[in-house]
């Protein structure tokens, strides 16, 4: 009987940081990104934030019902998604539309989901931001907290059983570490040494509950120690640190050395979603130190210092994002709502008698007075 006595017992109290305040990189964990790649990631972060802000506006105008965004968490989300290889797979939580876009989900597809229209690949069945993007090797967002964690572990396990070189990344917030599924997922991941990266976005809050009310431990990463899952923490507002930590975890998984939990320290700069008013439970002052550590601003300073960017080009980017968003919104908004037929499709692969009966009755029956 093998023992696990070789498992480390040390807690990952230190954080991986790379990008220093003066814009230089700490060589210890420097992921050695090419400048063009940093520019590409900067662009992706800017695009994600631009889309976020535009979607909040649409929600306030009553044109979409809901948005849950990633304001302040762009480096965590885009840096980690970028560190995945093309054949790897991502299980999302619900804030990671930026990762799906980075991996090739068309913007139009995203907007069709946001409007829940007939062109949406899930046929308007899910809430906004509950996207599915199989082409982008990106799973299907579900609201219940934590369910994706065990699923990702199973996906990674399957890849291992089939001998495929696929690493699976799963996103969740620090609040989700309290869920049943986090503990199941960590345990199975450890027991079967699956090639998975469990990425905990520690953004400080689970709706109104601060992270220190979620656990009695000093860090979330250290929970890995108890499960035999390698653990690291990184500065989640430092793009370079996130890429470095995630890439090391991917390499470790691909080598057959098993799963890693990465705790990325970041901050939720907006409300939980457009349904939430954070003024009811947190003071705006809490945001100030995090504004200083804005993940996009830090990369911008780095690029300017490296001579690879100037502020003027931000305007060009925004113009470009504005054009593509306007077009995608206009298209999504003029697309009709899904058909009644779509409500009965995909329950099963084909429609059994009872659904056929219900389906026909609706088609032949009266329409509701209000569509929404």
């Amino acid at each position: 009987m093998a023992t696990n006595a070789d498992q480390p017992l040390s807690f990952p109290a230190d954080m991986i940081r790379v990008l220093r305040a003066d814009g230089t990189l700490d060589p210890e964990h420097d992921p050695h990104l090419a400048v063009d790649d940093v520019v590409a990631l900067y662009r992706a972060m800017m695009r994600t934030r631009f889309i976020d802000e535009r979607l909040v506006m649409l929600q306030r105008q009553g044109r979409i019902g809901f948005h849950i965004g990633s304001l302040g968490e762009e480096a965590t989300i885009l840096g980690s998604a970028w560190a995945m290889r093309a054949g790897d797979f991502i299980f999302p939580c619900y804030r990671e539309f930026g990762a799906a876009l980075l991996r090739g989900m068309p913007l139009q597809r995203y907007l069709d989901n946001m409007f829940g229209n007939a062109s949406d690949n899930a046929k308007g069945r899910q809430m906004p931001d509950h996207i599915t993007a199989r082409d982008a090797r990106f799973g299907s967002v579900s609201s219940p907290i934590g369910t994706q964690i065990t699923q990702a572990v199973g996906f990674a396990w399957a890849a291992k059983l089939r001998g495929d070189d696929v690493v699976t990344l799963v996103y969740f917030g620090e609040g989700s570490t309290s869920s049943n599924e986090f503990h199941n997922g960590m345990n199975f991941a450890g027991v079967y040494r699956v090639p998975a990266v469990l990425l905990c976005r520690n953004n400080g809050w689970a709706i109104s509950v601060p992270s220190d009310q979620q656990t009695a431990t000093a860090t979330f990463a250290q929970k890995g120690v108890a499960y035999g899952v390698h653990s690291v923490r990184c500065d989640g507002n430092d793009l370079f640190a996130v890429v470095s930590a995630t890439r090391a975890a991917v390499e470790r998984a691909a080598r057959g050395d098993g799963p890693t939990i990465v705790e990325a320290m970041t901050y939720r700069m907006s409300g939980h979603s457009t349904s939430d008013d954070p003024n009811a439970y947190r003071v705006d002052d809490a945001l100030a130190p995090w504004r200083e550590r804005d993940p996009i601003q830090r990369v911008r300073s780095y690029l300017i210092k490296a001579g690879a960017w100037d502020e003027g080009r931000d305007g060009e980017l925004e113009g470009e994002f504005d054009r593509e968003m306007k077009q995608a919104i206009a298209e999504a908004e003029k697309t009709p709502v899904p058909s009644i037929d779509s409500m009965f499709a995909d329950v099963f692969e084909s429609e059994p008698w009872h659904l056929r009966e219900q389906h026909q009755a609706v088609v032949q029956g009266p329409r509701p007075q209000r569509q929404h």
Binding site: G124, G146, S178, S179, N180, Q214, V337, L355, P366, P368
Partner: protein, 324 residues
Amino acid sequence: MPRMNMVQAINDALRLEMRRDSKVIVLGEDVGKLGGVFRVTQGLQQEFGEDRVIDTPLSEGGIIGTAVGMAMYGMVPVPEIQFSDFIFPAFDQIVSEVAKLRYRSGGEFTSKMVIRTPVGGGIRGGHYHSQSPEALFIHTAGLKVVCPSNARDAKGLLIASIRDPDPVLFFEPKRVYRAAKGEVPSEAYEVPLSSAAVVRTGTDVTVIAWGAMLYEAIEASSQAEAQGVSVELIDLRTLWPVDIDTIVTSVKKTGRVVIVHEAPKTCGFGAELVALINEKAFWHLEAPPVRVTGFDTPFPYTLENEYLPLAHRILPAVLETARC
């Protein structure tokens, strides 16, 4: 008499019961400082402190499991599940433990508690903020299930539930949280469990509804009335144990019954009601009982008003039943 919406009435019931009995505590996600995502517990933490209005870690299984332990100790927990769609991580605790503790311990222990949770659609919440899972709990022996439709009943039923010796699932129809406004006595009072309300008397068809769909049934009944069909409308208020006498008395009078609920049709509570009516009033029926319900599909986002059994689907069912 003060006017309150359902959110305020439930808040008032909690406050009064917490003042009456220091063993009553509220626990759940975001219930403390925020006062709940629907603000139902607003202000309670200020009045009763962090030991009695508790923001828990994000785990429904943890919330209900610890509530069972507290109940065994003699406390009266009133846990909140943020949406009834998120009750399933606690399903094991509710079905295996809460429902069975009295029975399996020969009555030595009970899990007296009231699990409050918003239920139903109509807020553009998609699959996971819209479901109506009441039948799963009615099916589980040992649980009482309540679903008020208005502010006054909500307050009285919640107080009765908190004082009841057995575990109660208290479903709050979120679609009418703020819309169902009315006069609510300011003192504590009970609306007894297992007593339905006949909200409209009639002679031709009995319509049975509860929660948010009661308002759709009222609308459809008025429209039916305008077309010469007299409707007797029953608001069940307590789903289980159901007030069978009120149902049977009404069905014996009208001989016709339409049951409305948001949950999917198959094995929904309507199925049990039809079976009970067949058992107890079959020879009085003039027409087959009819169910107007959600469909046997997951709850959709964009087409939610097609999915819900709104007045436009209730009315034809009432007219057809009356004429057959």
